[in-house]
Symmetry: C2
Subunit: 519 residues, 2 copies
């Protein structure tokens, strides 16, 4: 999908989607690459979005009975070794700490050879093993169950190809880890948190998703079942935006997490884990951004309304500022999404036109400009970021000040709804259900598998029936899809009552699955 960003319009350069994404991240002041390969610096506007995500999702995680903890950054190599023995498909790309001191040797600062650790420490790629170890000590009786723990933390996975927010060596996330007395309770938890992710994604991020179960080969290593939410980006690719795993008793067996039941028997716990990360921010950008930059859903915008005073270094500037301060203060008395409005009067010492475009690019939901005429007329002139333009022209609306203040919560809710509706329409209208053979699938997606995958045409997803093959057969199917740069995203929870034949095997279908290109 070709996109033009207004900042680039002048040059006539119409970037492809990945270029457009990078430009939005930069121009919206969300993040930048850091001097450490694969890591990013999350700038105030980007981190502000993460803070809103954290606050709201944390509330939902607590409302469902979970408590937050903090576990160590470093994991003893022996813990990882235990997992490696235990888990097939164990990933080995991790940052390893081997020394605990630097020393100046021959005028060069380097790891001190005399300060080599006896046992190397791994920087957590996830806290599964160290939390499991704690569970094995904390859980004694059925009275301790369910144990419902969550952690907000940074984790590190050594990634070769990185992209800001979407895939970075270090990222921020939350990881839930729970232990239960039986499979039913653990499965209930797994699906409950999947639903928390789905509703959070749709209601707060305005990002529609399809919740479903991953195929056997796409499960988290060691999991009995893995579920995901998948969102459609504006280039038609799928973004896996969150996962929830039912781990059976596998991890409990490896880590000796046991409890005594009513009858005094010692049994293994059934455990779960689930997580979302700063990747969600990438999803928000690719869901809602447009040719003028980012558009933020008001529920997570660090500033929902930005007031730009038009100052001219003249005496009437003082009145404009006073008017702006009063307007901001009155707006802050209003409530949307259960919180006081987040309003900024931008008094930075730069030209007001530049300021306005900075906020357009950053995606502030409502941008107000006030000048002497507004002050005199007791009015405000505002732009809605979700509907910035009428053709090429920028649209603005004039409203009496008091009416605007009274309307602001409704306006913000409307913008939130509008962004969701746009994305939902895109998702719903771009899932093809008429593909019935592998050849049709190839024909449909094939046209865009040129050399330049990055500039691929918008295709959307395909929903097909299959016979849920497994083992070697499944592997062959996934290899064939991979050759087309496709993958099975998930089997949606919402299934029909009868099925076409399997697109791969021709056998009677038992389930529908989504196939797509993905991040």
């Amino acid at each position: 999908m070709q996109r033009a960003l207004s900042v680039l319009r002048e040059s006539g350069n119409r970037p492809n989607f990945p270029e457009w994404y990078q430009t939005v991240v930069r121009e919206a002041d969300m993040a930048e690459p850091s001097p450490v390969r694969g890591s990013m610096i999350i700038k105030p506007w980007g981190y502000g979005v993460w803070e809103q995500i954290q606050k709201i999702l944390d509330g939902r995680i607590k409302d469902t009975g979970h408590e937050n903890c903090y576990f160590p950054l470093f994991i003893p190599l022996s813990f990882i070794a235990k997992e490696a023995q235990h888990v097939e498909g164990f990933a080995k790309e991790m940052a390893v700490v081997t020394h605990h001191r630097l020393k100046m040797i021959d005028g060069k600062l380097q790891p001190d050879p005399t300060a080599k650790l006896e046992e190397p420490l791994v920087v957590r790629p996830t806290s599964e093993t160290i939390i499991g170890d704690a569970f094995s000590r904390w859980i004694r009786s059925h009275r301790d169950l369910p144990m419902l723990i969550n952690q907000w933390a940074n984790v590190v996975r050594w990634e070769m190809r990185t992209r800001l927010f979407l895939r970075t060596a270090e990222f921020l996330w939350q990881e839930g880890h729970t232990a239960h007395a039986d499979a039913e309770d653990a499965m209930g938890e797994t699906l409950k948190m999947l639903e928390v992710y789905r509703s959070f994604s749709e209601e707060t991020l305005a990002m529609p998703v399809i919740a479903g179960e991953k195929s056997a080969n796409e499960r988290f290593p060691g999991a009995d079942k893995t579920y995901s939410i998948e969102a459609m980006m504006q280039d038609g690719k799928a973004l896996q935006a969150g996962t929830s795993h039912y781990l059976g008793t596998h991890f409990a067996e490896a880590q000796n997490i046991r409890f005594q039941n009513d009858a005094g028997e010692l049994l293994f716990c059934h455990t779960t884990s689930w997580g979302v990360s700063t990747r969600l921010i990438g999803g928000v950008i690719m869901s809602h951004g447009d040719d003028d930059g980012l558009r933020l859903p008001p529920a997570i915008a660090p500033r929902q309304i930005v007031i730009v005073p038009m100052l001219r270094g003249k005496p009437e500037d003082a009145d404009v500022l006073t008017f702006g301060e009063k307007l901001a203060a009155d707006l802050r008395q209003q409530t949307a999404f259960g919180e006081r409005l987040r309003v900024l009067l931008d008094t930075k010492d730069i030209r007001s036109a530049e300021k306005r475009w900075n906020w357009v690019r950053r995606g502030a939901p409502i941008i107000i400009e006030i000048g002497p005429r507004d002050v005199a007329g007791g009015a405000v002139t505002f732009m809605r970021r979700d509907a910035l333009r009428d053709g090429d022209k920028v649209k603005s609306t004039n409203a009496p000040r008091d009416q605007f203040i009274a309307d602001a919560p409704r306006l913000l809710a409307e913008i939130q709804g509008q962004l969701f509706t746009e994305a939902k329409t895109r998702l719903d209208s771009n899932i093809r259900r008429d593909v019935t053979t592998m050849a049709e699938l190839e024909a449909f997606f094939g046209a865009s598998t040129g050399d330049d995958d990055e500039a691929a045409e918008f295709k959307g997803w395909v929903r097909v029936a299959w016979s849920r093959p497994d083992g070697h057969e499944l592997q062959q199917i996934e290899n064939a899809l991979k050759a087309l740069k496709l993958s099975i995203r998930n089997a949606p929870l919402d299934q029909p009552s009868n099925y076409a034949n399997c697109i791969f095997t021709g056998a009677p279908g038992v389930e529908e699955i989504l196939i797509a290109r993905s991040y």
Copy 2:
């Protein structure tokens, strides 16, 4: 100071202060040692306290104009090397990442020799250098100043002797980093954030502190001025609870942080940094804990009121639970410290007496027990954790339900005030001002410098005049103090108008300083 913790009373074991501290941390379910040497697991109740601290302090940091960012965990060795050249007293105990992959070699998982990093990465002990690098790119003009950035993050310093919350290899903190056009503005910032820490510590943690300037030898390496807040623990020792540094242009010069002023000249910025950490939680424990465990100031208690229903497996249990739920819901409509009350109805399946003592040990400010008699009489029976006992007997108060609900905010404010007053009285009445010679100082503190420093008698602090010697002379004084296990804590901001002679040099005094044992 000898303390008896009720959980230990039965054994007749009267622990010394460090033992008491460890016991409280454990019995209050705050944290535990982790399998990784020097790191801790912060448990839900302890992390809940950190969340309250974060939320309230973050609000104050934002109210003073700062924005949060996130910078990478890893710092290139070259950045650290630059600092090492630049900074005297540079600490070298850091965790060093040297490999990015694990490999199974001869059946043993180990760092893969083929995945050795070209340049080792250091796990941030502080983000000074990586934030300075960003500032050098972000700051161009005086319009970009002041640049006011804060970060909440985990940091790692390889410590040999660790103690939960007080000194751990990994800890959580916030670090503010700011850049300014001139010394005056930067000094203003340094003192503003010191004042934020002072008021936060006193108002929110109920922990009185003395804010002042550190001596030349105790400055942050590379700083022009270092300020601290110092709190008096219940063993009489000082805890440095927060620091704020004016860094002059030293870091700006090392990292090339420059701006163009109005006149078009390129000048170095003046920078500051300031931080507090999970150490504050250690301070809260050692300020307010008593023989029955922790006492939490209501402003930071994860649960301010805990309702323990006395259930007996009888039909009237249902009424007790209904009464408890309604009571909790009504209390949650009340507000204290600007937030809805945090209330828990503890329905865990354990004996109510055990529950009550769990909450006493954890320091929940108000604990309510309700039984059939309370339900019948429309009353509640509650304990105030700040005044749990009358002699050895546990005190409880009965109040009509509705009156208790109406009173709850005032009760919580009263408890907050009471904890502060107790600690403030202890601080104020334990700073001796009548010590005028080094011999007197030695005589005063000397009695307690036995072999067993851990069991040292309560001494408090000494406030003396000095002539502010520097260089070699200062070093000698600090060595002499160190031999007595003493140190200069700070020169309080609040100074008299005239001074006695210097306790060290006999010269006319120019400043008063605090001398104490410390953590």
